[in-house]
């Protein structure tokens, strides 16, 4: 393994060592002419992530950084589902991609929190290379955990809930099956593909999209999906595990496969 001699000699510096000037090594003399440059180290994320946004105001805007440029058009357009995905993605704008803890916070500190978004707006935070559409290969067999929260009661909570949801996503701690140390396959792929916050006239919705959704007899997968849901409810959103959440404009933390969502009929939901 390659050893970074410079890092060994100088000590590895992170943003905590020198927040304002942390890539420049300053000797004790304070003499600027004696400065030597030492690299600064950042904390890489498990996966790179892309933030997307849409609202009524983004409709019809044609920007340089729209999904169109990042979307594999030619092969996708050959199927009806690809055409549907492209229609869905048309108004969803790519905001930025990042792959370190430090970059995430730089973005967080310069973007509008959900409580201040206009109505009918959505942030989609997805792993790089996965578009926030059912039709993406990573999503097509999956589903989502979601909770709907009445706006009036939750305007002061929603920003923290969304932040904690994003942190669990980028920290890659949403899938306790992979973090408990009991996983039979240590490098099994995470179930999570992305997280979404939606603002509507009377409520907020938070969602976690998964790669897979259990069919009737897949007990192992069902248990793993339910563990994600319980973690979301208790550790991320901060509710008691047994707490009842449904009410006017409010839902429980519930799971629905994308295939069942598409049917728009009465589908069986998993509730935690």
């Amino acid at each position: 393994q390659e050893v970074d001699m410079n890092a060994q000699a100088e000590g590895i510096r992170t943003v905590f060592s020198d927040p304002t000037n942390f890539n420049v090594k300053v000797p004790l003399s304070l003499d600027a002419t004696h400065r030597t440059h030492a690299p600064q180290y950042q904390h890489p994320l498990y996966s790179a992530w892309t933030l997307w946004f849409d609202s009524p105001a983004t409709k019809g805007r044609n920007l340089p950084q729209t999904p169109v440029s990042s979307f594999p058009q030619t092969p996708m357009l050959q199927t009806p589902s690809a055409a549907a995905a492209q229609g869905w993605m048309e108004d969803i704008k790519r905001v930025i991609s990042f792959n370190s803890v430090e970059e995430f916070w730089g973005l967080y500190n310069h973007i509008v929190p959900p409580s201040q978004l206009p109505q009918k707006a959505n942030y989609y935070l997805f792993k790089e290379g996965i578009i926030p559409a059912w039709e993406d290969d990573a999503n097509k067999n999956g589903g989502k955990w979601s909770i709907q929260l009445p706006k009036e009661k939750n305007r002061s909570n929603v920003d923290k809930m969304w932040l904690y949801t994003m942190l669990a996503a980028i920290g890659e701690t949403f899938d306790p099956y992979l973090t408990s140390g009991e996983s039979p396959e240590p490098n099994l792929q995470s179930l999570i593909t992305g997280v979404i916050v939606s603002t509507r006239p009377q409520f907020y919705r938070l969602s976690i999209w998964t790669r897979l959704a259990p069919a009737g007899d897949e007990d192992k997968l069902r248990e793993r999906i339910e563990t994600v849901g319980r973690h979301f409810k208790a550790n991320v959103l901060g509710y008691a595990e047994s707490q009842k959440l449904a009410g006017p404009l409010a839902t429980e933390v519930e799971f629905l496969s994308h295939k069942d969502s598409e049917k728009k009929g009465k589908a069986k939901k998993i509730i935690v």
Binding site: L45, V101, G106, K120, G171, R200
Partner: protein
């Protein structure tokens, strides 16, 4: 060692190079010595970590909130994307019934 307050105050006259633009990725979390008062990432989350792929707990991540304030150089102007904060006081008069686009 402890957080170097003097280093943070030093040389405010010339803006530093973008630190993130020149930063390298940490390859081994064990190599990092955090200043006093800063928590390390939870070790149990990274027992099998390899290829510089790490998991981070929320308490660890939250410590960066007040420190990493550099605007990402590639962040487009938010108003161009339609990301514009609304005045909260106008909410009550805007209540509508439509639920908007949804999946």
């Amino acid at each position: 060692g402890p957080l170097d307050i003097n280093a943070a105050k030093r040389d405010m006259s010339t803006p530093p190079l973008s630190a993130l633009a020149t930063a390298r990725n940490i390859e081994r979390l064990q190599d990092i010595e955090y200043p006093e008062g800063v928590r390390s990432p939870r070790e149990d989350l990274n027992k099998d970590a390899k290829d510089g792929k790490f998991r981070y707990d929320r308490d660890f991540l939250m410590q960066f909130m007040q420190i990493c304030k550099e605007k990402p150089p590639h962040l487009p102007p938010l108003d161009i994307l339609g990301i514009e904060p609304v005045d909260q006081s106008t909410f009550s008069s805007m209540t509508r019934t439509s639920s908007g686009r949804h999946r």
